[in-house]
Structure formats: C-alpha cells, structure tokens
C-alpha cells in the first residue's frame, strides 16, 4: 500500500516535471520562429516595405552595435523607455534580415571596453544635467563602411525607422548618386568674407535641405552658365527658382531631359525668400518671380506670375501685430487630403507648410501625362502675392472661393519633345563669324528633337517651402545640433529626389508617424471658448482705442493752464473706460469659469457613468433576477 502510494506520487511529480520541461522547451522553440500580428492602426511594429527591401539587398553581414547605458540611476526614465523601443525595432530588423544582420548590445560603462568601442565608432555620450554621461546611439558596419547615429533623440522617434534604414542603405551603397542643383537662391550658404565682417555682417549657413541631401547624395552646384549637363553624372537635376535663365541654359536643361535625365523644377510666382534679399545679382529680374518659360511652353504648363493660392481650408495662424494670432490663407498648412495618397512620393507625407504658392495650369502637351501630387482644396482662389504677403486679414475679408482645386505640384511623364525645334539657340554676337556658325550648325544637328524614351519631370510652384523656417526646428542639445522636422516638407523633397535617383526603397520608409491622439472633444470646447475670449478681448481693445481717441480730443479742447490737471470730462471718460474694462475682465473670467465648468461637467458625467453606471446596472439586474426567483419560489 505504501509502495503504491509512493509510486503514484513519484509518477505524478515526474509527470509534472516532464510537462514543465516540455512547455519550457516549447516556449523556447516557439521563440525562434515567432509570428506576430500587428493590430496598430499605423502598423507601428511592422517594418515597412522599404526597410524590408533594403534589408533584402544585404549581400554579406551587416553588424549593428547598439550602445545604451543600462544603469538604473544614470539613465532618465524617458530615455530608458525610448531605448526599449529602439531595441524592439532592432529586433524587428533582425527578424526580417535573419543571419545577414547582427545586433550587438553594449553598455558603455565608464572606463570599459564598450566605452572605447563607442568612441571609436563615433557614438557620443551625452552629459546630462545630473552630471551623468549616458549613451544611446548606434554604429552600423558593412565591409569596412561605417555609419554612426551618435545619439538617438526621442524627438525623432517617428523617423527612427527611416534613420536606421537610411543608415543601413548608406553602408550598402558604395557610391552615392550625384544630385545637381541649379539655383538663384543662396541655399548653399554665403561664406563670410572680410568685407562683410567689417560691416558687422555674418555669412549664412547652407539650408538644412542641403545638409540632409548630402547624407544620401553627392550634392553639386550647377552654374547657369554650364556648357552641358551630363545625365550620366547627374542622376537628378534640381532647378530651384530659375530667374530669367538664358535660352542657352534652358536648352541644356531641355536636352538633359530628352537624353533621359531626371528633372525637378521649383518655380515661384512670388518667392518670399528672394524678396528678402537672397537674390543672385547675376540672374537679377523682377524680385520673387521665376519660371522656365521656354520649357513650360513646350510642355503645356502655365503659371500666373505674381498670383498665389489662398485656401480657406488650409490657412495658417501666424503671429501678427501685438502677438495676436492672425489667419493667413495664403500660407498653406496642407493636410493629407491635399496630397496624392496613391503616389509613392506623397503617400507617406502627412502635412506640408507651403507659403505663397502658385498654381500650375495649362494642358500637358501631346504625349505627356500629368499626375497631380499636391493640390489646394476647392475652397480656394488666386490672390495677388504682394497683398497676401502683407496681411492675411484682407484676403479673409474679401475671399471668394473659385470652387476649383488648384494643383501646386505635378509630375509630367511621357515622351518629352524639345522646346527648341530650331536647335541650340545662337550665342551672343561675340561668337559670330563663319566658324562659329558652322559650330552652331553642327551642334544643332546633334540636338535631340524628342526624348529617347519615357521620362518624368516634377514641377512645384513654390520655392519658399524648402527654407529652414518652414521645414525644421534646429535645437542645441548639449552642444549637438538637433534638427527636428516641423512639417513634411523635407520628407516630400527627399522623396522626389530619391524616387528619381534610382533607389526608391527609402520612400516607403519615411515618417511612420506615431500619432498623438488628443481628446478632440475637449480641444474643441477650448477652441470655442478661446474664440469667445478673443471677441471679448477685441471688444475691450476697441473701447480702449475709442477712449484714447476721446481723451486726446478732450486734451486738445483744454485751456492752456490746465495742462497738468485732467478735466472732469477726461476723468469721467477714464472712469467709464475702467468700468468697461472691469466689466469685460469679469466677463472673461466668467467665460473661463464656464469653460472649466463645462469640462468639469463632462468629466464628471463620464466618470460617473464609467465608475457607477455599469456596476449599478449589474446590481439592478442581479436584484431583479433574485426578486423574480423569490416570487416563483413563493408561488410554489
């Protein structure tokens, strides 16, 4: 009997132990080939197609060294949580790439080997206010090529996957494609010269656009006097704000396109950046207006000079006089509806900030198709650029919707025909003479009349949107320059260049926004209240202005001897104003109270419903059921 009991017990314990081992093993094995379903709206935890494509290109083994301070005390909570998310994402990369990607996690403690390695890799520790030095960066290496992300800023979280994929793509490509930029604006910066220094002036930094482009491309400036633009050298040519380009240059651009070169044209009917003194005297013309007239005519494109789009659906609040916000419908805060969601260039961009943009009109020439990339809403109209620039108030007052969506960025695809059917435009008379004529003739024979194959050109009717102020915010974080996007502008531009430069994988990666999800109901309540405050404040301002006017009138009426003493009328006037002021203040206070009360009431209702509502229902249901049952039993 005793033996049997022991046997049973042993059998049971052994069985439990075996089951335990089996389950642990099963969990381990399952961990190797995990499957996952990402139910988040933006597929936050799934690598985008572009990243997968880039990982697919790895031909060998890429190593990522992830440097992260692990100390409980040193690492601030925010950075720690972010580091975890970075690790999660790296795990995703590893999952997709398999053995082609190795992720090494290192904790660079002071005076450790890991710290030396971090320094060698160019990953920098950041000194916090607490005096602790923390690391949160990584280095990516592939057969001798190395790219470092010195410090991963939580601010750039929405671009984390993009940064990682771009860095991986960076080590994979041996040579960066070359992008040529022809411009009349000082986007490459202005170096400081001694003359300027004497006059107390500083040079100008290049636009952030350039430094961002340089991370992926070999960027070269192309002078308007260029003899020939080599489509083999320049994968993409960006023509930015072409002001009165000589026919010869337009011809070179024309031939570049016909030979298959990719072209991005940014023109502007009213460039703010230009009128602010950034113009190039070499190419001087009417300030702020640019066009590629000859080529546009050949392509069937028009753009009205000096006229910009005002859109009541996408206005921007600007700081106006006296710090009062002012609405300007000509500074477009474009949202997703304005962007072509079916096109790779715009599909991943969620907003654009475009000041004083022109509209692209006309009908594309035979053989060309037009794809609208960005457009205004139908609640828009064309207005004079200089009026729009002065103040948005007038536009709002006199707004009359044209009822038409106006394209402001398009792509033309198809077989392009030359804008110079007679061949290369003849040079200035200096080159005249029989020899020169011969030369010109032979060249014109070489010139192409039609594109060899289908090509594409992108045209955007604004240049200001690429200026730093409309793209990014530059912060100084512990001595490091941190650039954070304030709009999708840079992303949009980079997408264009990348699509044309050949490798379009990165287009599918950029900006997977982890959207914030505010309580819209309360935001609306606050916005409504704010509107009411504004009208009260305006009322007060109006009465203040009136009082001041009346006081000065009374001042003039006073007799000479009375200068220092206020007349009874003036005193009365001031008294009345004070009364009015206190009344409005009281009303403002009331409004504020009302807003607080409304929000509190809403919160209270929701709290009550959630905390007590359902329990009360369940309790009532239970009691009801109990009573019914008792009644039934009693009847028996």
């Amino acid at each position: 009997m005793k033996n049997k009991k022991l046997e049973t017990m042993l059998f049971s314990v052994a069985g439990v132990a075996a089951m335990f081992v089996i389950l642990v093993a099963l969990n381990y094995i399952a961990g190797l080939g995990k499957q996952r379903i990402d139910l988040t709206k933006e597929k936050l935890y799934t690598l985008s197609q572009g990243s997968k494509e880039i990982l697919g290109k790895i031909d060998g083994q890429v190593e990522i060294r992830f440097y992260c301070t692990r100390g409980e005390k040193e690492m601030p909570m925010v950075l720690k949580a972010y580091a975890q998310r970075v690790e999660d994402l790296l795990a995703e990369y590893q999952q997709v790439a398999g053995k082609k990607l190795i992720v090494k996690k290192l904790d660079p403690k002071p005076d450790s080997d890991a710290e030396d390695s971090a320094v060698l890799d160019g990953v920098e520790g950041q000194m916090l206010q607490t005096g602790d030095k923390v690391f949160l960066g990584l280095a990516i290496e592939f057969v001798g090529q190395k790219v470092a992300l010195p410090f991963l800023m939580p601010d750039r979280e929405r671009l984390l996957e993009y940064d990682l994929s771009r860095a991986i793509a960076g080590v994979l490509t041996e040579e960066k494609p070359t992008v040529g930029i022809m411009t009349s604006l000082p986007i490459f910066g202005i170096p400081m010269n001694p003359m300027m220094a004497q006059m107390g002036q500083r040079g100008q930094d290049p636009w952030v656009l350039i430094s961002e482009l340089k991370q992926d491309f070999n960027v070269q400036q192309v002078e308007p006097s260029v003899e020939q633009i080599d489509e083999k050298k320049f994968k993409v040519l960006v023509v930015l704000h072409p002001k009165n380009l000589p026919d010869k240059t337009q011809y070179e651009i024309d031939q570049y396109v016909l030979r298959g070169g990719k072209l991005i044209v940014l023109v502007d009917p009213n460039a703010v950046m230009d009128s602010q003194g950034g113009s190039n005297p070499m190419m001087g013309s009417m300030p702020g207006n640019s066009s590629l007239d000859k080529l546009f005519a050949a392509w069937g494109i028009t753009m009205e000079s000096g006229k910009v789009i005002a859109d009541m659906n996408y206005p921007t609040q600007l700081g106006g006089r006296g710090g009062q916000p002012q609405t300007n419908p000509a500074v477009l805060s474009l949202l997703e509806e304005a962007l072509n969601k079916d096109d790779v260039i715009t599909s991943s961009v969620d907003n654009l900030l475009v000041p004083f943009a022109g509209a692209i009109g006309g009908t594309p020439a035979m053989g060309l198709q037009q794809t609208v990339l960005v457009k205004s809403s139908s609640n828009s109209q064309m207005v004079e650029g200089f009026i729009a620039q002065m103040s948005g108030e007038n536009i709002v007052k006199e707004f009359k919707s044209g009822g038409k969506e106006l394209p402001l960025a398009v792509r033309l695809t198809g077989k392009f025909k030359t804008a110079f059917p007679d061949g290369k435009p003849k040079d200035a008379p200096a080159e005249a003479g029989p020899d020169a004529e011969k030369k010109a003739e032979s060249k014109s024979a070489e010139s192409l009349k039609e594109g060899k194959s289908d090509n594409a050109v992108i045209i955007v009717a604004d240049v200001d949107w690429l200026y730093d102020q409309f793209c990014v915010q530059v912060q100084n974080f512990f001595g490091q320059r941190i650039v954070t996007p304030v709009s999708g502008n840079l992303g949009f531009f980079q997408n264009m260049v990348e699509q044309f430069a050949g490798d379009s994988s990165l287009i599918h990666v950029r900006s997977r926004a982890s959207q914030s999800r505010p309580f819209t109901v309360m935001t609306k309540m606050e916005a409504d209240a704010n509107e009411r405050f504004q009208s009260k404040i305006k009322e007060l301002e109006g009465s203040l202005a009136e009082t001041q006017k009346r006081l000065s009138e009374l001042q003039q009426q006073k007799e000479k001897g009375q200068r220092l003493i206020m007349s009874p009328e003036q005193q009365q006037e001031i008294k009345e104003f004070r009364k009015k002021e206190s009344e409005v203040n009281k009303q403002l206070k009331e409004e504020r109270k009302k807003l607080r009360k409304d929000i509190d009431a809403l919160q209270f209702k929701l709290k009550l419903g959630n905390i007590a509502g359902m329990p009360a229902l369940v309790a009532l249901f239970g009691i009801g059921l109990f009573l019914i049952k008792r009644k039934r039993t009693a009847a028996r």
Partner: protein
C-alpha cells in the same frame, strides 16, 4: 472526442449557471467594475493624460486580477473537497480532465464577462478622441489571457487544499511571483546583487508582465500567446495530477 467536448460543455454550463444563481457573481462583477472605474478615472489620471489611450485602465489589471481571480478560483475544487461532492463529481460518467477543463472554462468565461462589462471605458475614449482600437483590442486580449493564467494557477492551488483561504493565499503568492519576476525593480535588484544574466533572464521569463505589456502595444505575438497557454496548460495538468493522486490515495 465529441462526447468529451459535450461533457466539458455540460460542466461549463452547470458551473456558469451556478455562478449566477448566487449573489457572489454579481458582487464580484460589481466590485471589479467599481475598482477598475475608480482606479482608471480617479487614480490613473485618465483625463489628465488628455490622450485617447487606455493605458490608465490596463495598468491596474494585473493587480486587480491578483486579488480577484484567486477569489473566483479558490472554491473551484476546495469547496468540492470540503463538501465531499468531488467524489460524486468524479463518479459521474466524465473524466477528471473533462471536469477540470469544464470548470476552468466556466470561470474563465465568467472573468471574460466581467472584463467585457468594462466596455463603457472603450466607448468613452472613442467619444473623446479617436483611439487605436486595434491596440485596445489587444489590451483586452492580454487581460483575458492573463486572467486565464491566474485562474489556472488558482485551480491548482484549490485542488491542493480543502481550505479556500489557504488556496486563496497560495494562489495570490504564486501570481504575485509571476508579476514580480519580470518587474524591472526586481530584475534590477537581482542584477545588483550580482546574479548571473542567464538566471535573471530565466526568472524573468516566467513573468506575465512582459507578455502582457507586449500585447498592450497592439501586437499579438505568438510567443506571448503561447506563454499564457503554457501557464494554463501546465497548471491545469498539475491540477489533474493532484486530483488523480488524491483519488488514488
């Protein structure tokens, strides 16, 4: 096989109707709803976050379940043993496994109902903003799986003893271990005292928290789901072994 499921279904139905024929079920649900509502809105700072997310709701679930699930599970077998009805149950034409799975499913469905009745909070965030309902769904799935894991542990402790209070306390202790094992303050403590990495990781692997948190992000990962089902499977298997050994003894 079909008859096995029919037997399990019969037990499940019987147990479920038994829940609702006594006031205990209503009291339990009311307390659970009051607690979740109070903690989400008054302590979790739901409105203060001003974001349409349910993190202030899900963060308390492991702790509520820690107390409430063992309370549901404590009577499952202990009461049968105390009253002697276990013998009666096991002499019926059903196997011990069918009885165990049937009882477990009934309690799990009951907990699922209690969790489901918190839906006004989902309606509330949808009214106030536009939340990611995929994430919310995953959070609920995680909550349900966690409740199942706790419940299975409760089944096991309930089978060990005929005293419900002992079962409750044992169950709470095991579930608390399962929360704390992977909780950063605890793992960091282990690292601090010089425990080797593999040991810390092994202990942490038994924790429900990383798996629950992983689900809360909005991702259904096969490893997380398998973990919860492993805990349920193992605990129910052990319950079976215990009941079997008692009957044999």
């Amino acid at each position: 096989m079909n008859s096995a499921w029919r037997h399990i279904w019969t037990i499940t139905k019987r147990e479920l109707s038994a829940y609702f024929s006594s006031p205990v079920a209503y009291v339990f649900i009311v307390i659970f709803l009051l607690l979740t509502g109070f903690f989400t809105f008054m302590i979790g700072g739901f409105f203060e976050r001003r974001e349409a997310v349910l993190s202030s709701f899900f963060m308390w679930l492991p702790w509520f379940f820690l107390i409430l699930v063992p309370a549901v599970a404590m009577g499952l077998w202990a009461e049968e043993r105390r009253l002697g009805t276990i013998e009666l149950l096991l002499t019926m034409p059903i196997t011990a496994w069918q009885a165990i799975v049937g009882k477990f499913l009934a309690s799990w469905a009951f907990l699922g109902l209690a969790l489901g009745l918190t839906f006004p909070v989902v309606w509330t965030v949808n009214y106030l903003g536009s939340p990611d309902n995929g994430v919310i769904f995953c959070g609920y799935l995680g909550g349900l799986l966690m409740a199942g894991a706790y419940l299975a542990v409760g089944c096991m402790t309930s089978a060990i003893t005929r005293n419900q209070v002992v079962s409750f306390i044992l169950s709470v202790v095991i579930c608390l271990f399962m929360i704390l094992a992977g909780w950063p303050p605890v793992t960091n403590f282990f690292i601090g005292v010089g425990a080797p990495n593999w040991l810390v990781e092994t202990v942490a692997a038994f924790s429900v928290m990383p798996h629950f948190e992983s689900l809360q992000r909005g991702v259904i990962d096969s490893r997380d789901v398998l973990f919860f089902f492993s805990v349920i499977g193992f605990s129910l298997f052990t319950t079976g072994v215990i009941i079997r050994s008692q009957r044999a003894g």
